[in-house]
Amino acid sequence: MEKVKQKDLILYSGLIILGLAAPYLFSAFKVQLTYLCVLIVLAMTWNLQGGEMGYNTFGNILFYGLGMYLTASVQVGMFFPLAEWTESGGEKTFVHTTTQYFQGIGVGLLVAAIIPTIIAGAIGYAILGLRGHYFAICTLGLGIAAGEIAGGIEIIGAGQGFTTPPFPAEIVDAEARGKFFYFLSFALLVGTFVFVKYIYGSRFRLILNAIRDNEDKAEAMGIQTMKYKIVGWMCSAFFCGLAGGIMGGLIGYIDSTDVAFDGREMGVFMVLMAILGGKGTLWGPVIGATLFHFFKEGLWTLILGWQYVALGVLIVVIVVYFPEGLMGWLREKYPERFGEVIDEKDRKAQVELK
């Protein structure tokens, strides 16, 4: 890590300053920015499986949803009886004090990071033994089964949903809630990025790529592929669980199939964003998620009601005509420039030069 190039240093410090200043610069868009951070985290962690390891999972939504339910449950359950909280639905007889709220969410996020990681490790041996499309369909089933089952469990609200604790009323600053969740998600984003970047420079990534390119040969070379596959999935589960926990607090309401185990939206978004940006690259998912989020926020309101049609068409178009993604396209176009700083401005400058 000492040999960070000067150009990179400027880029990273610029991005961090931009990230820290963003809630003040675009103070009306804090919720959208929080979403963006979470989306990038989800896309980057999906990329570890789908892009690097070649295991196209629909199941990372499982960890996201678990994290969401766990954070909220711990946050409530630490101080009040959970069953009474969810039974009363919208009307709250219990109120968290400020300290209780932050203690609760802190412990909740910790649990939301650890339990999904353990679950990924526990089911990893069974699930990751599947290959190719069997793995994809199995994880799809896993995500949906989790949603359906969560929708039948009384203590976490069943079909009527689970209202997460409201932000403490004692904090008068109206901006505080947005800022709190933004900085939380931004910290998660930075953590994820540093971690993924570390993986990109390590032997671990090479092993994952070997598994993607030819698993049997990798095994024949003496790599214990199963061990690395499980560890890779556990890494993703860790960050997905945290992302889910933050999202649960931000949205304020958890529904089993529409918010938590939302395979139809989040579960597809993370795949789509990673493919749009370019699978198997460090910056691809980041750029893909950003583009996708801008597209979504810009267009969704214009085509209200038709957004799912647009989403479906977008999936088909991206997958059929653009499977290599933006980074793949760039790699084809400017092979000699590849591996250096890649962002849109740079690309445009290059186009102008030519």
Partner: protein, 297 residues
């Protein structure tokens, strides 16, 4: 958890009969999936949504005042062209590619279909009344809607007709040849592009029949397609591609499992149980296969 079923043996008869009749219907959808999976090597996530679309076609003619049972003739004809069009528009571009590409692309198609059906037919749960009445068995303790018997009968009829068609007709032989070896078939003068389009059309037509039957026996809703996809996928992987008797048996097995899960776990866990069963079957299959590999070590 409700163990009423073990206390009342008649409920068990009821669940078994329901399950078997339902399972025959699932087997018909699975047959379509096995056909296009075997021939084109594509996993169609939109399978269930094609079924629901077929159901809505039958429901529409029911609204026009025609008896919904005619849907089993009209719906497959329309669905054949829907399938053909879908092939020409999207599927032909993913045939030779990675399977995951086809999964994602058909996932996109599924979302589009769901939403369009939601616009056109509304988000209400609908059912077409066949008014066939019910059959009472065992001293009125088991009730069996005649529409379910009708649907099982029609499913078997169409399945048998299709098997004969695949064996005897020119197109059927071309489809089987393409499934065996697409390149060799091409060399021998089979227009594989046309065969693929026809296969996808036939698959969609089968979905149309199943949908029309579902519209009179069960209920329709724009967003319930995915469970049908998963059911047919499950049946196909248990039975294997191209093994038709096994498809029928595992279809009935799945129907039985679902009805019993419904009684034992409760209706709210029914769909969850189906998806969980999928995971369990795949995991079981993985351990069975990994045992075979072990002798290489």
């Amino acid at each position: 958890m409700d163990f009423l079923i073990f206390k009342a043996p008649m409920l068990m008869v009821q669940a078994s009969l329901d399950g078997i009749l339902l399972g025959i219907l699932f087997a018909l959808i699975a047959y379509g999936m096995a056909l296009q999976w075997g021939v084109m090597n594509i996993i169609n996530i939109a399978q269930g949504d094609l079924v629901i679309l077929g159901g809505y076609i039958a429901y529409t003619i029911y609204l026009w005042g025609i008896h919904p049972a005619w849907g089993v003739i009209i719906s497959p004809i329309i669905m054949f062209f829907v399938g053909w069009g879908l092939y020409k528009l999207v599927i032909n571009k993913v045939v030779d590619r990675d399977l995951f590409i086809s999964i994602l692309a058909t996932f996109g198609i599924a979302i589009v279909f769901q939403q369009l059906m939601n616009f056109i037919f509304g988000a209400d749960v609908v059912v077409a009344q066949s008014e066939y009445g019910t059959t009472m068995l065992f001293d009125n303790s088991v009730t069996l809607p005649n529409s379910k018997i009708f649907s099982a009968f029609i499913s078997v009829l169409y399945a048998v007709a299709l098997v004969i068609y695949m064996k005897k007709s020119r197109l059927g032989r071309a489809i089987r040849a393409t499934a065996q070896n697409a390149r060799a078939a091409k060399i021998l003068g089979v227009d594989t592009e046309k065969v693929y389009a026809a296969t996808f059309g036939i698959n969609a037509a089968l979905c149309g029949i199943a949908g029309a039957l579902i519209s009179i026996t069960l209920t329709l809703h724009p967003y319930v397609g995915l469970p049908y996809t998963v059911r047919s996928f499950m049946i196909v992987i248990v039975a294997g591609l191209g093994n038709l008797p096994a498809v029928a048996v595992s279809g009935m097995g799945l129907g039985l499992f679902e009805e019993f899960a419904d009684y034992i776990l409760g209706t709210e866990f029914r769909i969850g149980a189906v998806f969980l069963l999928l995971v369990l079957i795949l995991v079981y299959r993985r351990f069975k296969l990994s045992k075979k590999r072990e002798y290489l070590k």
